[in-house]
C-alpha cells in the first residue's frame, strides 16, 4: 500500500516536471525540470529493483546528458532570453494528435492479457555479476557492447569536431 502511494507521488512529480520541460518559457528552467524528471525515472528504476540502472541513470542522464544540455543552453544564451512564444503556431494540433496517441495506446494495451500482471519473483542479486561477465562474453553480448563503445567514441569525436570553433573565435 505504502509502495503504491509512493509510486503515485513519484509518477505525478515526474510527469508534472516533464510537462514543465516541454512548456517552460525559459530554456534554462526547462533544463532544470528535465533534471527532476530524469531523477524521477531513476527512482522508478529503483522501484523495479534495477538498482544498477537507477545509479547509471543518475550518472549518465543527470550527470552527463543534463549537464551537456545546460551547457548548450548557456552557449546559445542570446536566444534563450527570446521573449516570443516558445511553441509553434499549430501546437494544439500536436496536442490533439499526442492525446489521441495516448488514449489509443492505452486502449490497445488494455486489451492485452498480461496488462494486469503482478510482479514475478524478485531478481537474484548475483544478476549484476552475471551482466558484467555477459557483456564481455563473445557468445553473449561482447559484440553489441564493443559496437556501442565504438559508437560512443565516434559520436564524441564527431561532436568535438562539429562543435569546434575553426575560425578561432572571430565571426
Amino acid at each position: 500500500m505504502i509502495l503504491q502511494i509512493l509510486f503515485i507521488i513519484i509518477a505525478v512529480v515526474t510527469l508534472v516536471s516533464a510537462i514543465f520541460v516541454v512548456t517552460a518559457h525559459k530554456l534554462m528552467h526547462a533544463a532544470l525540470w528535465l533534471v527532476l524528471a530524469l531523477f524521477g525515472v531513476a527512482v522508478l528504476f529503483a522501484f523495479l529493483e534495477a538498482s544498477f540502472f537507477a545509479v547509471v541513470q543518475v550518472l549518465v542522464y543527470i550527470g552527463a546528458i543534463a549537464i551537456l544540455v545546460i551547457f548548450a543552453v548557456m552557449l546559445t544564451r542570446r536566444v534563450m532570453d527570446d521573449s516570443g512564444p516558445q511553441l509553434i503556431k499549430g501546437w494544439w494540433v500536436a496536442l490533439v494528435g499526442v492525446g489521441a496517441l495516448f488514449v489509443g495506446l492505452l486502449a490497445a494495451l488494455g486489451t492485452w492479457v498480461g496488462f494486469q500482471a503482478g510482479p514475478g519473483p524478485s531478481p537474484d542479486p548475483a544478476l549484476l555479476t552475471q551482466l558484467g561477465s555477459d557483456l564481455v562474453d563473445p557468445t553473449k553480448y561482447a559484440i553489441p557492447f564493443e559496437v556501442a563503445s565504438i559508437l560512443l567514441l565516434a559520436a564524441l569525436v564527431g561532436a568535438i569536431y562539429i562543435a569546434a570553433d575553426k575560425k578561432g573565435g572571430k565571426e
Partner: protein, 107 residues
C-alpha cells in the same frame, strides 16, 4: 504490489509528453529534451517488462534486458552529444537555435 499497467501507463504518458515537446517546440535544444524524455519512457518500459516477466527466471536469460537497456543508454548519450554539437555549430553560423530558421538548403 504495483500492477504492471501502472508502469506502462506512466511510460506511455512520458512518451507522449516527450513527443509533444518534439512536435510543438520551436527551440532545437528543447526538442532534444523531448527526445530524452521519450528515450526514458522506452527504458522504463523495457525494465518494467524485465522485472515482471523475466527477472526471477534464470531460464529466460534475465541479463538480456540489461544489455538492451545499456545499449539504449549509450545511444541516448551519443545522440545528445552529436545533436547538441550540431545545434551549437548551427548557432555559430546562423545565430539561431529555432528549428524553423535552419533552412539553409531550402530552394
Amino acid at each position: 504490489m504495483i500492477p504492471l499497467y501502472w508502469f506502462l501507463a506512466f511510460s506511455i504518458a512520458l512518451f507522449c509528453i516527450g513527443l509533444f515537446g518534439v512536435l510543438a517546440r520551436k527551440n532545437a535544444i528543447a526538442m532534444l529534451m523531448g527526445i530524452e524524455l521519450m528515450l526514458n519512457a522506452v527504458n522504463i518500459n523495457l525494465i518494467a517488462f524485465w522485472r515482471y516477466f523475466f527477472a526471477g527466471d534464470a531460464q529466460l536469460d534475465p541479463t538480456r534486458a540489461f544489455a538492451f537497456v545499456a545499449i539504449v543508454f549509450v545511444a541516448a548519450a551519443a545522440e545528445t552529444a552529436v545533436g547538441l554539437a550540431l545545434i551549437i555549430s548551427v548557432y555559430r553560423r546562423r545565430t539561431t537555435v529555432v528549428a524553423n530558421d535552419m533552412n539553409l538548403m531550402k530552394g
